[in-house]
Amino acid sequence: VSDEHHELPPDKHRLLVKAVKLEWFSIVYLISAVVLLYFALGSSQAMKAAWVEDILGLTPPIAFLIASRVRRRAPNRKFPYGYHRVTSVAYLCASVALLALGAFILYDSVSKLLKFEHPPIDLVKPIGDEPVWLGWLMLGALAYSTVPQVLLGRLKQPLAKGLHDKVLFADAEMNRADWMTGAAAMAGVVGIGLGLWWADSVAASIISLDIVRDGAGNLKVAVDDLMDKEPTVVDHSRADPLPRRVEHELRALDWVKDAEVRLREQGHVFIGEAFVVPTGDDDLVARIDRANQHLLDLDWRLHELVITPVPEIVRPDPGGQDGA
């Protein structure tokens, strides 16, 4: 993580190095959890759902790591805008996978519930000669796959906010929400133990609903990003103030009568255009150049801005179709 095309200032770069380490650790840990859960799957639907969620949990860290390598590449003739958007593409793929698998498990669990299927869990001999009910091992495997994820999520969230990285943020959120999956799956297994055959399918349905919700939410965000929707802050709670700030800065210049700015979010940087109505033609090229330098220094996320002088500004409809 050095030379090449720098898009991060040094302090953010340190955050990125930390995030990359955390994501590598997440991948190694998640693989171990997936393997462990696989051996304790038995016939439990809830275990299967938790297992699939852990497998899918691998996609955000992988997307993040791939993106963190690829997006630093300089623009070239074939990709004149550079590679920032690779993050959005990775994000779209992950959310589609999440949605599809969640829907599949939901269907599977509900149909098992409707067919009154009673899940069998038998004995295993993990070590030595003493047979153990597999349910106990399931609970152990679930604890291993849950508790560290919640902690990892807490470590990742501030990094995601600092880096303005939505993939990392989504990953942190998924990790933090994993306690629910873990608890639901444990309740399902304990339910089977207590002779409540439906507990397992109900738990699996709850988990898969959560996966579907995650998938649908992330899909919407990914599509919004690819549609160049108005940039939002990292948790999507409100519009990012940067475009308006850039606009104000431009209007404050003495040679600018009116200005309008539109920015696109590409990965964690912004790229866009500013239209300005100049008071006159005096020294216009140098003025635009100075203004551009000044604006790019405003915020590290403002990566590229094209300032175009225009005779007047026609503003688009403020609300837009979905008004969000």
Binding site: P120, K125, I192, L194, G195
Partner: protein, 238 residues
């Protein structure tokens, strides 16, 4: 944090439930183990020599004997029901039977309709030669007697270069290489050539989800699986 508190209370609830339940886990949703203990064990049986034989007045065979001993442990009397595997599994699925035996193996296609036990015995069909004869280095071109109409005959034909000679009863073949169950080797004075045609892990079937009953049966099978070779030897092998 809200999540934290929710997680902690859930964990506390889970621990409390486990402590209360103690060793009563797993339980049966339909109380099979409770009903069978000191009562009647309804067992579906289909013919599969030497595991189950239905030629006498009472069912016999290795699995029948295991079931009788299991019933003895539970203080239950066995009520035998004969039928095809499909009929018996269908009855098991709606819990009209408590157990189905009849040479079932771990790769049974009934997995979705019945809870299959751990395997209590593994048998192999092996290519063997008379104890006095030299072991062939390779069975390519060797004439091997194999029981007609068995999967071993097909495997021998398709997967090896031996010449399959189909016979009605391999135990009657003398002075030839034969494909037989490994538990018959000593009785027939044969030696294993190391060529194994098939492997069967023997299991029983119980109703889906009756986990206390299943666990009880598996504990019994784990404890008694050492007796299976002696039970096989007691069979006449015909």
């Amino acid at each position: 944090m809200r999540n934290n508190r929710a997680m902690r209370s859930l964990l506390a609830a889970a621990v409390a439930v486990l402590l209360l339940a103690g060793c009563g886990i797993p339980r049966d949703p339909e109380s099979t183990l409770d009903r069978v203990s000191g009562g009647t064990l309804r067992v579906g049986v289909t013919e599969s020599d030497p595991w189950t034989r239905l030629d006498g007045e009472q069912p016999a065979g290795v699995e029948v004997e295991l079931v009788r001993r299991f019933a003895g442990e539970l203080g239950a009397t066995v009520q035998w029901v004969q039928g095809s595997e499909a009929d018996l599994i269908a009855a098991l699925e709606v819990r009209e039977l408590d157990l189905v035996v009849g040479g079932l193996t771990a790769d049974t296609p009934w997995q979705a309709k019945a809870a299959i036990t751990r395997s209590f015995a593994t048998t192999r069909v092996v290519v063997a030669v008379p104890a006095g004869a030299p072991l062939p280095a390779d069975i390519a071109g060797v004439r091997v007697a194999v029981e007609a109409g068995t999967d071993a005959a097909g495997v021998l034909e398709d997967k090896t270069d031996a010449v399959a000679v189909r016979v009605q009863d391999v135990t009657k073949v003398r002075n030839s290489a034969v494909a037989v169950d490994d538990w018959l080797l000593d009785r027939l004075a044969l030696r294993d050539t190391g060529v194994h045609l098939s492997k069967s892990k023997h299991v029983m079937a119980t109703p889906l989800g009756e986990n206390a009953f299943l666990a009880r049966l598996e504990r019994f099978l784990i404890a008694r699986q050492g007796e299976v070779p002696a039970l096989l030897d007691a069979e006449d092998g015909s």
